[in-house]
């Protein structure tokens, strides 16, 4: 990236903006839009030789900093009134002026300017929440009545080659833990064997699934999230549709993966993967 060094003229504009910003004094907090018109006119005068500028800014600091964060609870803070008729402290300007204004800010103040009080991600959507377990579940069991599956789910990661681990127990399914939890937004992935060396394994009947069949995933606290099958696909393992399986999704989805196709005796492995795509239906 290249850094832009503001020209002297830019600093003039920046200082003017700073004056605007500070001219309201410490009382320019959440309700401080009133005195902005006056501030705007002072900016146009490009009057910048105010040695106290930086000082004033410090004074204003504590007033602004934290009450800003509550403004989603105060929808009127910068509503239509703050629009074209009322600059509300932020003087329209050029890119360079904007940048210079930021650079001129007190570093400590700048460091405090992030969304401390943002939604903390712990299921506190309140009235907006229509999903029972928006954060998904730590899966313990998977139940698919349509094909008689009721099995333990273990945790799986990746191996040294970056490939997904698989359960060592042929009767268990495994959840890909680096990805999203089942029930959370995004594609949760659960894999299971189609067979052992001697006979059918947990996902032997996966290819029998049809669109609309329900898949329940139970969490460690007994909570359940439910998905419905959208479709099935079969792909050679060396052309595995990585993006389609793992890429982000707007809603909560589930992928079930097992083997299919030709069994390669030399590799002791099936050549294909069968992938079931499912979407959460209880949220």
């Amino acid at each position: 990236m290249s850094r832009r060094q503001p020209a002297a003229a830019t600093w003039v504009i920046a200082a003017a903006i700073l004056l605007v910003a500070c001219s309201g004094g410490p009382d320019r907090s959440a309700s401080g839009a009133d005195d902005a018109p006056e501030a705007a006119s002072s900016a146009e005068e490009h009057d910048l030789d105010d040695p106290d500028t930086e000082h004033d800014q410090h004074d204003a600091h504590d007033q602004h900093d934290h009450d800003e964060h509550g403004d989603h609870d105060e929808p009127d803070q910068h509503d239509g009134e703050a629009g074209s008729a009322d600059p509300s402290g932020s003087q329209p300007g050029s890119t360079e002026a904007t940048l210079a204004a930021i650079r001129a800010m007190d570093p400590d103040r700048l460091a405090g300017l992030h969304d401390h009080d943002a939604h903390d991600g712990h299921d506190d959507h309140g009235d907006e929440a229509s999903v029972d377990h928006p954060n998904g579940v730590d899966p313990e069991r998977i139940v698919i009545d349509a094909i008689g599956v009721d099995a333990d789910v273990i945790d799986l990661g990746i191996d040294g080659d970056g490939r997904m681990e698989v359960p060592t127990d042929f009767d268990q399914a495994g959840w890909f833990t680096p990805g999203p939890r089942p029930g959370r937004v995004g594609p949760a992935v659960i894999a299971g064997h189609v067979d052992s060396r001697s006979g059918p394994a947990v996902f032997y009947r996966l290819p029998e699934l049809e669109a609309g069949d329900e898949i329940e995933v139970q969490g460690d606290d007994g909570e359940v999230v439910t998905f419905a099958v959208r479709g099935l696909e079969q792909h050679p393992k060396d052309e595995f549709p990585t993006e389609q399986v793992y890429a982000g999704t707007p809603g909560s989805e589930l992928r079930l993966i097992t083997c299919g196709g030709v069994f390669d005796d030399d590799e002791r492995s099936y050549r294909d993967n069968i992938i079931v795509y499912a979407e959460r239906i209880d949220g």
């Binding site: 403004d71 910068h78 300017l113 997904m164 060592t168 680096p178």
Partner: protein, 257 residues
């Protein structure tokens, strides 16, 4: 995409505690497809590689405002339920989220869904939330062209899939300048909203390489024919017979099954 780590980074890596996810040296790949916010028209593809606590982030964008630093962060509470949320005017829920009704999702309005800054994707130096607006350490081109390796906390390393990449800063009124829209940033009245409002957001998801070895052949009718679980042949990609060598890396023990 992976660059040689700097000596400094390597030194820090040596000190990293072995408690984080994938501390066994397996590098986990993540990716994110960033789509526009506030109808910016910008988008980006990100790839992330995590090895212990060492995270490499590569972001290639298009359509961002050229010539203004784009603050970029990993947003979200590690392990939480944050989402990008509706960030464009034609998305369901946009009007409810645009609490002040100005037609723009501000940083504060956006963070109601995508959560707080967990990591600042700076080009150098500090990556904490304190650098969230470190304008001299963010990409300022239309394509971002970002790549960096740095240390993240155990909490972030273990919960990357609950975070999002958000790129900020956009020219809302197509004026060719940042700072012409007459609305202050929700973070500070001294900053214009164009400097801080989200321009793109993308969910981070993990992925594994290649297919999954989930069968031992016990139900295969014979070694050379369709054994079990085959869907219709029509679903098979032509590439099954393609010229690419199949470099199947063998796992050990039962995991080959």
């Amino acid at each position: 995409m992976r660059k040689t780590f700097t000596l400094a980074t390597a030194a820090v890596a040596v000190l990293a505690l072995p408690t984080a996810a994938m501390a066994d040296g397996h590098e986990q790949r993540y990716s994110a497809s960033l789509s526009q916010a506030n109808d910016s028209g910008a988008s980006a593809d990100a790839e992330l590689w995590l090895d212990g606590n060492e995270l490499t982030v590569s972001i290639q964008g298009q359509g961002f405002f050229d010539g203004f630093p784009h603050a970029m962060h990993l947003h979200g509470e590690p392990g939480g339920d944050n989402v990008c949320g509706p960030l464009n005017s034609d998305e369901d829920g946009f009007d409810a989220k645009d609490a002040d009704g100005d037609g723009i999702i501000s940083v504060v309005e956006g963070a109601d869904d995508y959560g707080p800054v967990s990591v600042s994707l700076t080009t150098e130096g500090d990556t904490s939330p304190d650098s969230a607006l470190a304008v001299d350490r963010f990409p300022d081109s239309d394509t971002l062209d970002y790549e960096r390796t740095f240390e993240v906390s155990d909490e972030v390393a273990e919960n990357l899939s609950s975070l999002h990449i958000v790129v900020h800063g956009l020219d809302l009124d197509d004026s060719g300048e940042i700072g012409t829209v007459d609305i202050p940033s929700s973070l500070d009245e001294e900053l214009p909203i164009e400097a801080t409002a989200p321009a793109a957001c993308g969910q981070i998801t993990a992925s594994a390489a290649g297919g999954v070895d989930t069968g031992a052949g016990g139900t295969a009718t014979n070694g050379g024919q369709d054994g079990t679980g085959a869907l219709t042949a029509g679903l098979l990609g032509a590439g099954a017979l393609g010229g690419l060598a199949l470099r199947r890396r063998r796992l050990t023990g039962d995991e080959t099954a």
